[in-house]
């Protein structure tokens, strides 16, 4: 079996205890991973004067794959988000955010199985903002042809590789004819390479309304950065919240898998939080590393433990600690429970 070397970024707040629980489960799945721990976040600011030290960047560049716990973004301090910096430094252009119903979380829908492909590096996230007079601010929304084409191409390739049937572009090109118009044109150009996949487009406000009325109609969605930011959380809410929402940030040469929830500093050290979001991100990572059997084993065990409700954390009605929940998944994989 191949040994993988993966950078582990435990992050802050509850991040370290979550990542340890996730490591316990992944290591017990039979996959061979050498973990290399690196630092990121507010703690680094005091030690190194930056949220993202060079040593961490170099390690990720070497290993090309990382699993990341939650970090805290300081508000109004003038420091840039470590998450956004990571995406920019490694040009992690594809933010892949699946939203799939988890059986134990009772939701009013029969089926939700959506994969969102959010463009991760441009749009109004290009950090180009100015006060153009003392009563007017502007933020440049930067959409480029290659940036738009590659996220669409990536989504279509993912869809083809995973047997998905439909890929739709979400936009507001009826109003923003240049920027969203370019995004849509690039999507349509990329779609020509994938004639077997049904394609179409939907205006972002209508997409939101359709998502809450009939989410089962959607399969894969390709979105510019800002709409993607909003709709991916909307989709996470449809399936039960950020506690089970995985995420991957993927570039041409490097991939970082992470939960999208916050670091919950008030619970740090209490070992009560649910590590599932990082765990399902880890499952995504294993599939990316082509360790499908291990990923399937963990997912099956996790669903079984959730279904039994004996060893689940407080947010899903149980009393188990983070570690007890992780151990229950390990025991289930090994047929002990």
């Amino acid at each position: 079996m191949a040994q993988h070397v993966v950078t582990m970024l435990p992050g802050e707040g509850t991040g370290p205890e979550i990542c340890e629980a996730v490591r316990l489960v992944i290591d017990a799945s039979g996959v061979e991973i050498k973990w290399e721990y690196e630092e990121i976040g507010l703690g680094c600011l005091e030690k190194y004067g930056t949220l993202l030290p060079d040593k961490t960047i170099k390690n990720i560049a070497k290993n090309k794959v990382a699993l990341k716990g939650p970090t805290t973004t300081p508000i109004g301090t003038g420091h840039k988000s470590a998450n956004v910096t990571l995406r920019k430094v490694f040009d992690l252009f594809a933010n892949v955010r699946p939203a799939k119903l988890i059986p134990v979380l009772k939701r009013p829908w029969e089926k939700i199985d959506i994969i969102n492909f959010r463009e991760n590096t441009e749009d109004s996230y290009a950090a180009i903002e100015h006060m153009v007079s003392d009563e007017v601010a502007q933020c440049l929304k930067v959409i480029t042809w290659p940036g738009s084409y590659r996220i669409a191409d990536f989504a279509f390739q993912w869809a083809r590789a995973n047997g998905r049937k439909k890929v739709y572009c979400v936009h507001k090109a009826n109003i923003m004819k240049m920027t969203d118009g370019l995004f849509l044109d690039a999507f349509r150009e990329a779609a020509k390479k994938y004639p077997e996949i049904e394609t179409g487009d939907v205006i972002v406000d209508n997409c939101c309304m359709q998502l809450v009325r009939n989410p089962a109609q959607f399969d894969c969605l390709v979105l510019p950065n800002l709409y993607g930011d909003i709709l991916t959380d909307l989709c996470a809410g449809l399936v039960g919240g950020l506690g089970f929402a995985p995420g991957a940030n993927i570039g041409d040469n490097c991939s970082i898998f992470e939960a999208v929830h916050g670091s919950a500093p008030k619970y740090a050290g209490m070992k009560k939080v649910n590590p599932s979001a990082v765990l399902v991100s880890g499952i995504m990572m294993l599939r990316w590393l082509k360790e499908t059997a291990a990923a399937d084993r963990i997912e099956k065990a996790m669903f079984a433990v959730l279904d039994e409700r004996k060893h689940v954390t407080y947010d899903v009605g149980g009393t188990a600690t983070t570690d007890e929940y992780a151990q229950a998944i390990v025991d289930k994989m090994h047929g002990k429970a």
Partner: protein, 119 residues
Amino acid sequence: MATTFSEAAKATRKKKVITLVGVDMYIVTEEGIPKFPDGEYGPFKCEFISNRGTKVWPGFVSPDLMMVNWYRCRFMATQDVKDADVDTFLAVLTQKGWWWSAAQKLWTHDGEPAFSKAY
């Protein structure tokens, strides 16, 4: 006397002391990251260059980074400057063959930067 919402909103305006401190230049080039040697642009000095919002000069540039042919080049003033200095600066840039799509003056408002940094 009745006040409209628009009038009420305008009345809350807080006037600021506005000081010119630099210019963001948006340069279109197929020749890669532009270079602006110090001393060739009068009282302005290039502080950083970004592409699609990511800083590409000075410092580390990921070999993974995809760039387009449009660069934001931030020039900061090295001394007190006036609007006329920007006019001269733009003329020098054009003379040197740089094709620019837009210029955005940078100001401080009450001494605080009224513009974002690049990642």
